[in-house]
């Protein structure tokens, strides 16, 4: 399910978003300090666009989707993440952890688009 991410960048826009969330519980999936996730309905988009009309560039609207690592990632990357999370020596940086193993190096992954 896609959701709308609304982020505010001024005190007035933040207050506007807070009021929006208070008045319209239904379309609000989750609220953060000055950001909120709205559901993927025309009404939620209407509320978001209305906020942007009022506050211009102080309102950012993005459409985001849930991340599925089994679709978006190759297996070696998932395995590397799991292995690194469960490593024994907690202070080892990933670059050192991956060196000399089959795990992809950080630079390799940085160069790869999802």
């Amino acid at each position: 399910m896609l959701v709308l991410l609304v982020v505010t960048y001024s005190a007035a826009a933040r207050t506007g978003l807070r009021n929006l969330c208070r008045r319209h519980e239904d379309p609000v999936v989750r609220r953060f300090g000055r950001a909120a996730l709205l559901d993927s309905t025309e009404y939620a988009a209407f509320l978001a666009v209305r906020l942007r009309e009022a506050h211009g560039g102080d309102v950012q609207i993005e459409r985001t989707e849930p991340f599925n690592e089994f679709v978006a990632l190759e297996e070696p990357v998932r395995e590397a993440a799991a292995a690194y999370a469960n490593r024994e020596s907690k202070s080892t940086p990933y670059a050192a952890f991956a060196a000399g193993t089959d795990h992809p190096g950080p630079e390799t992954m940085r160069g790869e688009e999802l």
Binding site: Y9, S10, A11, A12, R52, A54, G56, G57
Partner: protein
């Protein structure tokens, strides 16, 4: 595009420290006791220990200039270009179907083929436009992202400014509190027993506190009494000549022939403040 040009970099007025006379120039003041006492303290030349930090924050905020970025035009262009591309693809599919149908019955296809050719040319330029529109959108998005760093910084500074201002208000209010308590007994409806130790512990009526705050302030110019304040004082058969005054010049400027040191009756709010 909406909104952006209105918001330049500087801090909005609500973050400026109000002049003492703006806070205490009317009763009811519409302000908290902390704000009243802090205004009284400032009118007497007191500054808080965070005054320097406040000035620095304001200066930094004044220097933040956020360039307006127009992403809306780019979004519109992408939408228009994508729509045009989709329309032409549909038209080409329809024309191809037409050509096949005509060939199946040995009908003439010259005209349809000509249409197909020109539609294909249009599609090609529509695709070029769509790609250009997407690139322009990407550029605008990157510019907007950069200004968001600045917007975020400004918001953080404004939040800090507000917190420091609250600290300053509380500090100044606490400093003024003993003086306030002493005067409280002398104002209509005021009672030192309501004061307790701290501004936050004041339990008495708000109007008495406002009058006392005005009494300990050093502000020039008139203090307007709203209906609520006038009847409050009348009901207690009080007088407020020392506390609430109006200079002759002010009275003349506003076209009133009232004598000095006489409270002004007005609505609950002074217009334009």
């Amino acid at each position: 595009m909406s909104g952006d040009s209105r918001r330049s970099g500087s801090a909005p007025d609500e973050f400026r420290v109000p002049r003492p006379a703006d806070v205490l120039g009317q009763i009811p003041t519409g302000e908290s006791l902390h704000a009243e006492l802090a205004a009284a303290a400032r009118s007497r030349g007191r500054t808080s220990s965070v005054a320097g930090e406040l000035a620095e924050l304001r200066e930094t905020l004044d220097e933040i200039a956020i360039e307006p970025v127009d992403v809306e035009t780019a979004r519109r262009r992408v939408a228009a270009a994508s729509g045009e591309e989709a329309r032409l693809k549909e038209r080409i599919a329809a024309l191809r179907g037409d050509v096949r149908a005509r060939r199946a019955v040995d009908a003439a296809t010259d005209e349809t083929l000509g249409d197909l050719e020109s539609a294909a040319a249009e599609l090609s330029s529509a695709q070029t436009e769509r790609i250009a529109a997407e690139q322009a959108f990407e550029q605008a998005r990157k510019r907007a992202t950069r200004t968001r760093d600045e917007r975020e910084r400004r918001l953080r500074l404004l939040d800090r400014l507000q917190n420091r201002r609250r600290d300053a208000r509380q500090e100044l209010a606490r400093e003024m509190y003993p003086t306030f308590r002493d005067v409280l007994t002398e104002v209509p409806g005021g009672d030192e027993a309501h004061a307790n130790e701290e501004p936050s512990e004041y339990e008495g009526p708000a109007i008495a506190a406002s009058v006392a705050a005005v009494a300990i302030a050093d502000i020039d110019g008139p203090v307007m009494l709203g209906e609520a304040a006038v009847s409050w004082i009348d009901d207690r058969e009080g007088t407020v000549p020392v506390v609430v005054r109006e200079t002759k010049n002010d009275a003349e400027e506003r076209g009133g022939g009232r004598s000095p040191a006489h409270p002004t009756r007005s609505g609950d709010r002074r217009p334009g403040v």
